[in-house]
Amino acid sequence: MLEHVGPQLFNGLVLGAFYAIVAIGLSLIMNLTGTINMAHGSFMTLAGYLAFSMIARGTNFWFAFLVAPLLAVLVAIIVERTLIRPLYGRDPVYSLLLTFGLSLIAEELFHVVWGANTLPFAPPAALGGTLALGFMNFPVYRLFIVIVLVFAFGLLGLFLYRTRFGLRLRAAVQDSEMIAALGTNTQLLYTINFGLGILLAGIAGVLAVGLLGLNPTTGNTLLMPAFVTVIIGGMGSLYGSLVAGVLIGVATSLMTLYVPAASEVVIYILMAVVLTIRPRGLFGEEGLFG
């Protein structure tokens, strides 16, 4: 059994990285405007489909990989400005319902445009096969995923903690009113923040479809675990989402090895355990969202 642990741990890391990046995107959006984005998975799927269509028309994978998430961000910005902005300041129930409605529409639209069947989405040949490193063989595509996501986390961290704009974003999370009083265009900030969250989702989406397959509900399968990741990591803490994501990913993977039937519920069990011991999550801030 033990020779399986290594690969499963690695798979857990990959899965965890996905959970983390989706959770961080959700968290960014939630922390700043209190918007619960139930359509986050839909944006992931959208990026995947756009990449697929681009490749089908002859562009290469790398181009599609860069452009598809950006196109998803474009759609996101339109959605944010028209549909989500009116809900700022209202009870989070409304944003939850609205984005849920959007996810229903999106799923059906994907069905209409691309069909209900799972589409073949193979990563390029360059990323195929395995790489032997030391005692284990690592699938190259998964290695690629880990590298890209780690890179993304790093860039995000740099952006948030080393740039002026990132500073404004963090300040706005603490106190939107104050920042507005100091002259910042908060509406623009909200839009960019939303776009940033969706950018992360888009990147995750394009990467995920190579692993999970591409159908109207691919993104949604990552959504619930991502929410649980946010809860376990603690509301308001991006670092918490990162740690919790990896934790959940590894736990799920190991559980698939030892007790397969429980692998889907293990994240909820973890959630219940963490919440009992530490109600605000691992790194959550006290009093945020109750």
Binding site: D91, V93, L98, L104, I105, M224, V230, A261, F289
Partner: protein
Amino acid sequence: MNRRLARVTPGRIVALAALVLLALEPTLAPYIHVDVTIVSAALLFTIAALSANLLLGYTGLPPFGNAAFFGLGAYGCALSIKYLNVHFFTATIFGMLAALLGALIVAPFLVRRRGIYFGLLSIAFGQVFYFIAYRFTDVTGGEDGMAVTRPYLAVSTFTLKETAFYYLSLVVFILSILAFKAIVQSPFGRTLVAIRQNEVRVRYLGLDSNRFVFVAILISALFAGLSGALSALLNGFIAPLQLDWHQSGDFVLATILGGSGTVWGPLIGSIIFVIGRDIISTITPYWQIFIGALFVACVLGFPRGILGTILARFGAAPLSNEPEEANWTQSPAIAVDHHG
């Protein structure tokens, strides 16, 4: 306080008219092309919508885990028939007890949360039950669901079976709405309304708001469980998908569409939703787009819901000397920011 019972308000007239219409539905069915089964479904759906309404419209909490209680009611009922061979009503009670048990497990985690946290946690816990129903294939039939044989109802012949069930649903619905009305007009219910508006002040009046929330969750689960049990009996079938949080979203939508924070709003919303969904799905396979669009339109344009908008337009009369008359004149629940 006898004058309370004798008062004839516009609201009561409309409610009575609605009930008369519902009572006559089996005879009207061939003319309006809406058969009894779908109206039964709508009435039972209303009971589940009421469960969401209690938490959302009255207490101010987003109840996205109620499908789990609905499902527990359904499976509790079905399993008790399958393994214990019980009578119709006993099976329903079993269903409600299963839902109550689920609530007792989940409520301690939920009770101290508010806002988004409450919403997300309720979804998460709902999903646990969903997965359990999905995975325990031996017991629940897994993904394919489970057939439910409807126990013989004492007073019906074979040909009237659907109609008899319809009247049963109608009676249960009337009892449910009377119970709901009694709850929200009671001191307990009035405190829930206060919690929605200003929880801090409720605590500074010497009341432990968490205690109230706990009980509200239990009551909500009972209503949802009742709805689930009878729905299982109506359809003769249950599947894990009915526990999925998308179903919870449907209950919440029906509530908001009809008017959250009112007693009769969920009925209006449920009828529109259930019958509307049925009609649209016969027209196009892409009916989900319309449901989604309904969510969006309702949230953006119609947050008070139908009944809520009507009440607001006719000037929600200030509450009378008798707070017990609140349900018709109470201003509809527009969620406001809660204090800590």
